[in-house]
C-alpha cells in the first residue's frame, strides 16, 4: 500500500511497523512531527507504544537506552543541536552497547531554517564509532527503520539516522509494509557498568566491531554504484543523490552513499576509474575530509572545501547543477517592490506584553542587558522590541545572566520560556541561588512548547514549586498575567525584583494564543 508521507512521518511509521516499543524525544524543528505521528497512530496507541514528550534530549536518550536494555526497540528523536544535549549519554551508549534495537534520529538543519547552527550529526556517529544511515528519500527513510533496528541488534550498537530539513519536511508516496510484532521483554544480563576497568574492555570491543560496521556498509542496499561513460566521479550522500539525478539523469558516474562508515572499496574503485571526485553532501564537508585522507594528497577531491559547492547553506538543485557544469537560472529579474518579511510574535501573544513592560522599566537602567533563550520569545530580539542581547542554547539565558552579574553587570535579566526552563534552565537557577547572584529571571510561561507547534510542556503547573524547591526566596517568586490592562502591575513587579539584590523569578503566565484557539475550536466541535 502507498501512503503520502512527510519524511518525518515515514520515519515514524517505519519505526512503528518495525516493532517499536517507545519513542523518546524533545520537540525541535525539523524532527517534531515524528513523535507527533506516533502519538496519534492507532496501532501505536493500541500497543501502548511510549510516546510522551521528554524534558530534554538527554533524558530522552537515557530512557531509550533503558528500554533497549530491557530488550525492546526504542527510537530517540531530536534536532541536530539536541545531539549536544544528549552527547554524554549517546557517546557512552556506544560503549555499553545495546540489547533491543536503538535508533538515534538526528534532524539536521543546513541553511538554519529554524536553528542556530549547521552542525552535521554524521560527525557524532563517527565520534561515537557507530554506523550512520542517511536516507536520500522518504521511501528509504521508511525502509531504514526496520533495517536500522536489525543492524543495531546484530551489532549490539546504537545506529544514528540522519535526516535533513528538506527530507524531514517534504512529502512523497511511500510503499508501506505490514507491521511486525514488538520485541519481548528480556533485560540484558550483560554488565553495563562503565567503571574504568570494565569500560576499557568494552571500548576495545567497540573497536573490534568496526570491521563488521564497514562490512555492513560495503554490503548495504542503500550504498550503490552507478556507472556511466563520463569521466567525472561523484560521491552523492543522502539527498544529494536526488539533485545529481535531477541534473544528470542516468549519465552519472557515482557512488550513492547512505550508510556509514564509508564504503571505502566502492569509493576507491570509482576513484581508480576517474580523474577526480566531486563530493556532494548536505551539511558540513564530513565525507570530503574523509575521502581526501582515504585517497591521499595527490588525488583531486572537490566539494565544499574547494569552493566547487558553497561552504555554507543547504544543497539545492541549482548549486549542485552548477558544480556539475550544468546551468539553471532565473528568467525574470528580481522584483523591485519587495521587502523582507521576518517571522514575528503573534498579535495578542503574552510574550509581547512581557517585552513591552520590560522595555519600559529597563529604559531607566541604561546599563542593563537581557539574556534571551530558545523559543518563540527569541523573536523579542527583532523589531519592534529589540530587547535581547543574546540567545545561545537551551537554558543559557539564566547562566549567562548569572556570569555577567558575577562580573558586575546590573541589571542582569534572563528571559526564558516555560519548556526551555525545565529543559535546561533549572540547574542554572540552582547555581544562581547558591551564589546569591543578583539576577532577575523571567520565566515567560505560555503553558506549552510554542515554537514547535504547541506540544505539552514538562513543567506546567509546577514552576513556582520548582523555583521554591531550588531555593529562590518565596517573596521573590512573583506571578503576573501578561495582558495590556495589567501593564502597571507587571512593570511594578519587574522594577521591585530588579531592585532586589539577589535571585528573583517573575512568572508571567498566560496560555499561548495558538493553543488557546485550538482548544476553543476543539471544544466547539
Amino acid at each position: 500500500m502507498k501512503k503520502l508521507l512527510l519524511g518525518d512521518e515515514a520515519v515514524a511509521l517505519g519505526a512503528i511497523n518495525a516493532g517499536l516499543s517507545g519513542v523518546y524525544a524533545y520537540p525541535g524543528t525539523p524532527s517534531t512531527e515524528i513523535t507527533e505521528y506516533i502519538q496519534n497512530h492507532p496501532l501505536a496507541k493500541e500497543r501502548g507504544v511510549h510516546s510522551r514528550w521528554c524534558t530534554n534530549e538527554k533524558t530522552a536518550m537515557e530512557a531509550a537506552l533503558g528500554m533497549s536494555y530491557a530488550g525492546k526497540r526504542a527510537l530517540v528523536c531530536m534536532k541536530h543541536v539536541g545531539m549536544n544535549v544528549c552527547a554524554d549519554a549517546f557517546v557512552n551508549s556506544a560503549i555499553t552497547g545495546v540489547k533491543g534495537g536503538l535508533i538515534v534520529l538526528a534532524a539536521d538543519d543546513p541553511s538554519m531554517h529554524s536553528s542556530q547552527n549547521e552542525q552535521d550529526s554524521r560527525f557524532y556517529a563517527k565520534f561515537a564509532l557507530v554506523p550512520c544511515l542517511e536516507p536520500s528519500n522518504q521511501q528509504e527513510a521508511y525502509d531504514m527503520m526496520a533495517y536500522g533496528f536489525d543492524l543495531s541488534e546484530k551489532l549490539g550498537e546504537p545506529i544514528v539516522l540522519r535526516v535533513v530539513t528538506r527530507l524531514a519536511h517534504s512529502r512523497a508516496a511511500v510503499e508501506v509494509t505490514e507491521p511486525k510484532a514488538e520485541k519481548p521483554f528480556s533485560p540484558s544480563t550483560d554488565q553495563w557498568v562503565l567503571l574504568p576497568g570494565i569500560a576499557r574492555k568494552k571500548y576495545v570491543a567497540l573497536l573490534e566491531k568496526q570491521d563488521a560496521m564497514k562490512q555492513a556498509s560495503a554490503e548495504s542496499p542503500f550504498n550503490k554504484v552507478e556507472r556511466a561513460v563520463s569521466q567525472a566521479g561523484i560521491l552523492a550522500c543522502g539527498i544529494a543523490y536526488n539533485y545529481v539525478k535531477e541534473a544528470l539523469g542516468n549519465d552519472a558516474n557515482l557512488v550513492k552513499i547512505s550508510q556509514y562508515p564509508l564504503p571505502e572499496e566502492k569509493i576507491k574503485a570509482l576513484a581508480a576509474k576517474c580523474d577526480e571526485l566531486l563530493i556532494i553532501e548536505d551539511g558540513q564537508p564530513v565525507v570530503e575530509e574523509l575521502v581526501t585522507s582515504l585517497l591521499g594528497a595527490g588525488y583531486p577531491v572537490k566539494g565544499r572545501l574547494t569552493g566547487d559547492l558553497p561552504r555554507t547553506g543547504e544543497l539545492t538543485p541549482d548549486n549542485v547543477a552548477k558544480a556539475l557544469g550544468k546551468t539553471t537560472g532565473a528568467v525574470f529579474a528580481p522584483a523591485k517592490n519587495m521587502a523582507a518579511r521576518p517571522p514575528q510574535l503573534c498579535q495578542g501573544c503574552g510574550h509581547r506584553d512581557v517585552y513591552t513592560a520590560l522595555n519600559q522599566v529597563l529604559a531607566d537602567y541604561p546599563e542593563h542587558r537581557v539574556f534571551g533563550d530558545i523559543g518563540c520569545y527569541t523573536l523579542g530580539a527583532l523589531p519592534p522590541f529589540q530587547s535581547l542581547s543574546s540567545c545561545v542554547d537551551m537554558g543559557a539565558s539564566i547562566t549567562m545572566a548569572k556570569g555577567a552579574a558575577d562580573a558586575g553587570l546590573f541589571p542582569s535579566v534572563a528571559v526564558i520560556g516555560d519548556s526551555t526552563f525545565t529543559h535546561s534552565g533549572m540547574t542554572g537557577l540552582l547555581d544562581a541561588v547558591n551564589d546569591k547572584s543578583n539576577i532577575t529571571v523571567i520565566i515567560s510561561d505560555n503553558l506549552t512548547t510554542g515554537m514547535t507547534g504547541g506540544q505539552d510542556s514538562a513543567g506546567t503547573n509546577k514552576y513556582e514549586a520548582i523555583c521554591l524547591g531550588l531555593g529562590v526566596e518565596p517573596e521573590h517568586v512573583r506571578v503576573v498575567v501578561p495582558l495590556p490592562k495589567n501593564m502597571p502591575e507587571i512593570m511594578r513587579v519587574i522594577r521591585e525584583e530588579i531592585e532586589y539584590k539577589g535571585v528573583s523569578v517573575i512568572i508571567p503566565r498566560r496560555e499561548c494564543i495558538q493553543t488557546f484557539a485550538r482548544h476553543a475550536r476543539a471544544k466547539k466541535q
Partner: protein, 191 residues
C-alpha cells in the same frame, strides 16, 4: 508531463491546506509527487512557501530549480513576486491582489500592483470573493479555483473531489462551503 508549482504567502494564510488538496488529487490521479514544506520558525507571520512537484514520471529533487516553476500560486501579491527567480519562461502567477501588511516597510501598493501587471499574472481580491459566497475563511479555496484550470496535469474535477475528501471529516456543510468558494474562483479565473 511535469508541473512545478510554488505555493506561497504569509504564515497562517492557509498555504498548507492548498498543498494538501493538490497532494490528495495527485495521489488519487496516480501521479508522482514531491512536496517540500516550511515548518517551524518562519510560520509566525513570516513568508512561507511550499515547493510542489507533480509528474507522470518519477521525481528526484524535492526542490524546484530556478527558472523552472510552471506556476506560482500566492495568497499575497508581494509574496508572489518573492519567488520570481523560480518562474519559468512560460510560467504564470496566480495571486491574491490584496496586500497583507504586517511589516513597516511594505512597498507602495500602486507600484506593487503595476509591477505585478507587467508579469504573466492573474490576480483577484480572493477575500472579497470568499465573503461574497458566504465563506470568509475560504479565500485559499478561491485561489485554488483560480489556478485550477491552468494547473493542467490535474483537472478541475480532480481537485473538486480532493476538496470533498480532505474536508469530509469536518462535515457536509464545510465541504459545500469550500466547494462553493472553489467554484467561484474557477469562474473568476476563466473570465
Amino acid at each position: 508531463m511535469k508541473k512545478d508549482i510554488i505555493l506561497c504567502g504569509v504564515g497562517g494564510q492557509g498555504i498548507l491546506s492548498i498543498a494538501t488538496i493538490i497532494g490528495e488529487a495527485a495521489t488519487k490521479a496516480g501521479l508522482y509527487l514531491k512536496q517540500a514544506e516550511v515548518h517551524g520558525m518562519s510560520q509566525r507571520g513570516g513568508d512561507v512557501q511550499s515547493n510542489l512537484r507533480l509528474s507522470t514520471e518519477p521525481i528526484w529533487s524535492d526542490l524546484i530549480a530556478e527558472g523552472s516553476a510552471d506556476l506560482i500560486i500566492s495568497m499575497e501579491p508581494m509574496e508572489a513576486m518573492r519567488y520570481l527567480a523560480y518562474l519559468s519562461k512560460d510560467g504564470r502567477i496566480v495571486t491574491s491582489s490584496k496586500p497583507f501588511v504586517n511589516i513597516p516597510n511594505y512597498p507602495a501598493e500602486d507600484a506593487l500592483q503595476k509591477e505585478l501587471d507587467t508579469l504573466p499574472s492573474i490576480k483577484l481580491d480572493i477575500e472579497t470573493v470568499a465573503k461574497d459566497c458566504g465563506n470568509p475563511r475560504g479565500a485559499n479555496m478561491v485561489l485554488l479555483g483560480m489556478a485550477a484550470p491552468i494547473i493542467g496535469i490535474l483537472s478541475v474535477k480532480n481537485l473538486r473531489e480532493a476538496i470533498a475528501t480532505v474536508f469530509a471529516r469536518k462535515g457536509e456543510q464545510i465541504v459545500e462551503a469550500n466547494l462553493k468558494a472553489f467554484d467561484s474562483g474557477v469562474q473568476a479565473g476563466t473570465k
